[in-house]
Structure formats: C-alpha cells, structure tokens
Amino acid sequence: MNVRKIEASVITEKVKKLFMDMNYFIGEDIMNALKNAKESETSAIGKDVLSQLIENNRIAAQEEVPVCQDTGMAVLFVEYGERVVTEGGSFEQAVQEGVRRAYIDGYLRKSVVDDPVFDRVNTKDNTPAVIYTNIVPGDKIKILAGCKGFGSENMSSIKMLTPSAGIEGVKQFILDTVRYAGPNPCPPIVVGVGIGGTFEKAAMLAKKATLRPIDTKNPDSRYAALEDELLCEINKMGFGPAGLGGDNTAIGVNIEYFPTHIAGMPVAVNICCHAARHKETEI
C-alpha cells in the first residue's frame, strides 16, 4: 500500500490559516443572506441593524480583525485518509498547535477554560479544540472547521423524540427552541438541525449542519422542503435583527439526518449567530 507522508507542520499551518481566515472574512453565503435580508426587512430598526452588520463584516475583512469578539471554541470535522501518515508529530498535536497559533498570532480571543465546573481557569490559547475524526479511504485530509460562539451555543437544545411524535413533533421542538432563544443568540440566526442517529450523533449532525453554507439545500427534497418551511415559520416570530423586532429572525435552516433506532427519533437544534463562521480545507 502506498502511504502519503504529511509533515505535522503543514497541518499546523493549514489549521492556523483556517481559523484566522474564518474569523476575519465572513463567508459569501452569510454576506449575501444579510444583504437580501436588508432588502426584505420592513422594520426600520431591523434594516438599520442589518446595515450595521454588513458594514461590520466589511470593516473586519478590510482590517483583518475578527467580525465578532467571541471568536468561539474551535470545532473540526476531519476526514482522515487511511493512507496518510503524519510525520514530525501526531495529527492531534498538529491540529491543536494550529488552533493555538491562530488564536495567539491572529489576535483572536481566548475563550476556553480548563475545567468546566471547579477551576474555570482560562487556558490562554483557546485550546483544546473539539476534534471529530473519521477514517476514510484515500490519501487526503479534509477538514471542515468552525469557531462557535457561546451566546448562541447556549441557546441550543436536544430532545429524544419517539417515532409517534412524527414530523409535527420535530417541527414543534425546533420552533420551540428558536422561540425560547428569542433575542439572545444574535439574530438573524442560522439554525443547524440534526435528526436521527443516537443522542450524541444527533448533536454532532446539528453542529455539522451549522457549518454547511446556507445557500445550499439538503439533497433529499423532503428535508429541503422542511428547511424552507421552518425558515418561513421562524421568520413569522418577529424577533428580527438583534431581537429588536422585524422579519428576519433567521437567515438559514440546515438539516442533516442519519439512520436511527426503531424506538427513537432524536432531534438536536444547534443555534448559530449571524456570524456563522465555517471553512474547509484539503491537505
């Protein structure tokens, strides 16, 4: 079997650049959605907020500073080709080092505490990152990364629905979660939904859904229709930009699904602010 050797330092540099870039340059999908929202918004204050967000993102890109002070906790979904051998250090260390350098050299905020309950001492370099690795065929490493702010993360929720809840139960849980979040998670939001799998699989799918560009649809037309319907329902709630009232409470709903158990229908809702930062790379 041919193996492909990749230097750990190459992985570190790639990861560093991913996190700096995603914090300075908001994706085109988000920028376009904010511009469209501004056009459609009927509330004067909502329109003004959207103008300010567009201007904010323009300034951030121009000055290469983060769009939001909450530069998040780093999350990476990795597809690691089984023919790749990392040299000069472990893959895990290489990724963590990339995150560390991005947050230190890139003037990003360090928002991670070492122990969640007792000490809560800042690790001062934003590590550890949360890394999910799948081993896949091939000789490439694909990384899908996001930096997740916690204003919106805290508004997320998961529920172990059972089959009899049906599609109505799914919709109700998603809408209830968004309604409860209200003005808190920096609307207009992106709603990531994970359905199926097990308890933790649903949550991981929901996180992954927040990292999919919002100008894409689920390939299954039934789920794509559900995405559209939910977006429409959420925007009837009236929270509006910054929660100050208006037509644009969400700019995207992305759903991911997975097979599940005969007894279950887990649904996870991961809410993301309008600064939905995500980026991919392949090594």
Partner: protein, 177 residues
C-alpha cells in the same frame, strides 16, 4: 436620529431615555461579564469592599478580543445579558446606573431597575469590529488574571446603542409570536 448622551448619566438623562431610543454614548464606562460579576457579587454578599467604585457607573457586558498593533482595542461587541441577571440587582442596589449588553433580562432585574432608576441598553450583537471604532482607550481596573473577562475602563466616543429597557420598565425587545 440618535440622541447624544454623556457619561456619567444624570438622573434627568435617565428619566428622558425611552425604550427604543437610539443613543450615541460618550464618556467612560466599566466592563465586566460572567466571572467578574461572580466575584463582585461574592464580595457584596460578604459585605466587603469592591475593587472598583460602581456608584453612578455604566457597565458594558463585554470580553474584548485582543488589540492588533496600531489598534486601541480589539473587536468588542456585547455578550448575552441574562447570564448576569443573578448578580445584577445587588449591583443596582449598590448604585450601578446602567448596563449595556444584548438580549433578555429577567423580572427581578427589571423590578430592580425600576426601583433604582436604571436603564438597560442593547448594543448590536456581532457588530464587534464596528463598535470598536467608538472605543478610544482601554485600561485594566481589576481582575487582570481573568484575561478578557477582567474589569476594564473603556473611554468611548459616540458608542452606538439602543435603549432596550427604560427606567420605567418599558422594553423594546421583541417578545415573539
């Protein structure tokens, strides 16, 4: 048109501010968020002195990003206010006059705001690079060990905000349908 207001806030200014008013704030304000609030609250509970005088002050719920060389301050937008709700009435009873954050407040906070004649401003969440243009100077006042969560003093000019809840308890935050 935005109202220009100068800190410290006078009682008349506070009374004149109505929910929904856009304001541009000039002067100096404190910052503080979760960890600093916890420490202040614990000192108040023990009846001890606070490391900063909060009487008549405005506190901005923010944990700024580091400043790049040549910048006075890094991006510094508001954080969610509800996490400070548990600690807020005790600070308002001690003379804090206003808060700047984003999102909802609970009934205890609103009741304490009415009792103490205080105002809650919303800054736009996620507009951190834009907001930082109005922050001219940053000094560390207390709890430096908390990093971004330390208490800083910001000097601001025309800092943009909206009166989210006024001193009569009126709110402009959307309730949702």
């Amino acid at each position: 048109m935005a109202k220009k207001i100068v800190l410290p806030l006078s009682e008349d200014t506070i009374k004149d501010l109505k929910a929904g008013d856009s304001v541009l704030i000039t002067g100096t304000m404190l910052t503080g968020r979760d960890a600093a609030h916890k420490r202040l609250y614990e000192l108040i509970e023990k009846g001890e002195e606070l490391p900063v005088d909060i009487k008549g002050e405005v506190i901005y719920y923010v944990g700024p990003a580091p400043a790049k060389p040549g910048h006075a301050v890094g991006p510094a937008g508001p954080t969610s206010s509800y996490r400070m709700d548990k600690y807020t009435p005790a600070l308002l009873d001690r003379g804090l006059k206003a808060m700047i954050g984003k999102g909802k407040r609970n009934d205890e906070v609103i009741a304490s705001m009415i009792k103490n004649g205080c105002v809650y401003f919303a800054a736009i969440g996620g507009a951190a690079a834009l907001i930082s243009k109005s922050i001219k100077k940053i000094e560390t006042l207390a709890y430096e060990d908390l990093g971004t969560e330390a208490i800083y003093r910001f000097t601001v000019e025309d800092f943009p905000a909206i009166v989210a809840i006024d001193s009569q308890g009126n709110s402009v935050l959307a309730q949702g349908k």
